[in-house]
């Protein structure tokens, strides 16, 4: 196998996470896809989990602008509804820890 085709990262594996981490980048989405317009403006972020893995996720329950370095924890939320009679898609979002 040539140098160019050596796998650059380990294969994808299932891992368990504590669900906590910190914001390493964020943006406020103002032009949203169909199915997400009613959430505009919403904050999308890159979160570095404490185990090292990065995830792309919305930051929810914000009472002020987010900042890089903010600690966040995972919560389960509705992500989108696929039309009035469509499926409701649930998934993870992150919020600042509730103390």
């Amino acid at each position: 196998m040539s140098e160019n085709h050596r796998p650059a990262a380990p294969p994808h594996e299932r891992q368990a996470f504590a669900g906590t981490g910190e914001i390493i980048s964020f943006t406020t989405v103002r032009e949203a896809p169909e199915g997400y317009e009613d959430q505009v403006p919403y904050v999308l972020a890159l979160v570095r989990l404490d185990e090292g893995q990065m995830v792309t996720a919305q930051i929810t329950d914000l009472d002020g602008p987010p900042a890089i370095g903010d600690r966040v924890e995972m919560v389960t939320r509705k992500l989108t509804t696929e039309g009035p009679r469509g499926m409701i898609v649930y998934g993870y979002k992150f919020r600042r820890p509730v103390t």
Binding site: N4, A8, A9, I24, S25, F26, T27, T28, V29, R30, E31, A32, P33, E34, G35, Y36, E37, Q39, Y42, L44, A45, L46, Q53, M54, V55, T56, A57, Q58, I68, L79, T80, V89, G91, K93
Partner: protein, 383 residues
């Protein structure tokens, strides 16, 4: 392997063609390219398109394009690699001719973004993102670019205004290109005040999706010399891939696919970076332009923006980029964009660039990048 050259080019104006369909735009570009090459048939047709199925409700596009381009019966297939579809199709065409499978092929890119508007188009466009890990979160390509850009600004201590040079340059060049979508100039200072799409990515940062078609005809370098006065040789090519999801990258601010494809292309062309007279890169966002220049080895890590700020990328500068306006001003007919780059590089190398001509252009690099670096195709063209 046989050497390959471009003997014909064609392009439609880039913009919103409400009165024309995918097939009309494609037929127009194909006819122009055949006429330019002085031939009336080819052995195969490769079609580059990104969003025919989702935006234009049309897949199985290749035979449709062949039919309307007057090439019914020809071997044909379509290639999809999001924004890099054009570069991927060009590579497939080069391989077809270099291998001896065919002697002449038409490589055509076409997109019809205006078949949808508003949030429906935004939704249709997210199919090129990682559906399970990013798009489901409400991510869009501009939003992911914004995540990269903010991280870049924080890690390297760079202000928003540092990126404006890319957009100013693109529009200065596009203003002189009759085929460009937005021919307005961007004044210094306006970039930082533009409305945000996903901060810090603004309207003056992200390239506009557009309609358009472009085509090139490839044949062997040996035959090319007998057919046209100014064939343009494809002297090197390289291709690579990276994760689709941004969050899966171990080095967020380094475009590995761009790096590898550039290295391969330079090696195969047996040239150094100093010999390159102009670059058509994928400036879908200013951050992608900066990161591409870094990964391609034209700027140090964290300093790609400096080339735009210190005037190194203008038509009369050391390293002209986006010489006909790039994606930002010429417009981004997504699947066709990589072929527009090839057409524009050929115009430069023929000395037919008109008001956009780079003086004494001998070698051009074109780089077609899908998404935010998930695929990259780099080609080196020479007189």
């Amino acid at each position: 392997m046989r050497d390959v050259a471009i003997i014909g080019i064609g392009q439609t104006p880039v913009g919103e063609h409400w009165q024309l369909g995918l097939r009309d735009l494609a037929a127009d570009a194909a006819r122009s390219a055949l006429q330019d090459a002085g031939i009336d048939s080819v052995e195969s047709l490769i079609v580059a398109n990104a969003f025919g199925a989702t935006i234009s409700s049309q897949s199985h596009l290749a035979p449709l394009v062949a039919d309307f381009a007057g090439l019914r019966g020809v071997e044909t297939f379509a290639v999809e690699a999001a924004e890099a579809s054009g570069g991927a199709a060009l590579r497939a065409g080069v391989m077809a001719v270099a291998s001896g499978a065919v002697d002449t092929t038409l490589v055509l890119g076409v997109e019809k973004a205006s078949d949808m508007i508003g949030s429906a188009r935004v939704r249709a466009r997210t199919v090129s993102l990682d559906a399970d890990d990013e798009a489901v979160q409400g991510a869009t390509l501009p939003a992911l670019a914004a995540l990269l850009m903010r991280r870049y600004m924080v890690e390297y201590g760079v202000e928003l205004a540092a990126f404006e040079g890319f957009s100013i340059n693109a529009h200065a060049n596009g203003a002189k290109n009759a085929n460009a979508m937005y021919r307005n100039l961007i004044k210094q200072g306006a970039f930082g005040k533009a409305p945000m799409i996903a901060d810090p990515v603004s309207l003056f940062d992200g390239a506009p999706d557009a309609d358009g078609a472009a085509a090139v005809i490839l044949t062997t370098a040996e035959r090319a010399g007998d057919l046209v006065p100014q064939p343009v040789r494809i002297i090197g090519g390289g291709a690579s891939s990276d994760t689709l999801a941004l969050a899966e990258r171990d080095d967020l601010l380094w475009l590995r696919a761009v790096e590898r494809s550039t290295e391969q292309a330079l090696q195969r062309a047996v040239i150094s970076r100093e010999q390159i007279n102009l670059i058509e890169l994928t400036d879908t966002f200013t951050i992608l332009a900066a990161l591409s220049l870094e990964a391609s080895g034209f700027a140090a890590r964290g300093e790609g923006w400096r080339l735009a700020q210190d005037g190194s990328i203008g038509l009369a500068s050391r390293l002209p980029i986006s010489t006909f306006g790039g994606l930002k001003s010429r417009g981004n007919p997504v699947g066709a964009t990589g072929i527009y780059q090839a057409v524009e590089a050929v115009l430069q190398l023929r000395g037919a660039g008109g008001a956009n001509q780079v003086s004494n252009a001998q070698i051009a690099m074109i780089q077609s990048v899908g998404g935010l670096g998930s695929t990259a195709f780099t080609h080196i063209l020479s007189t």
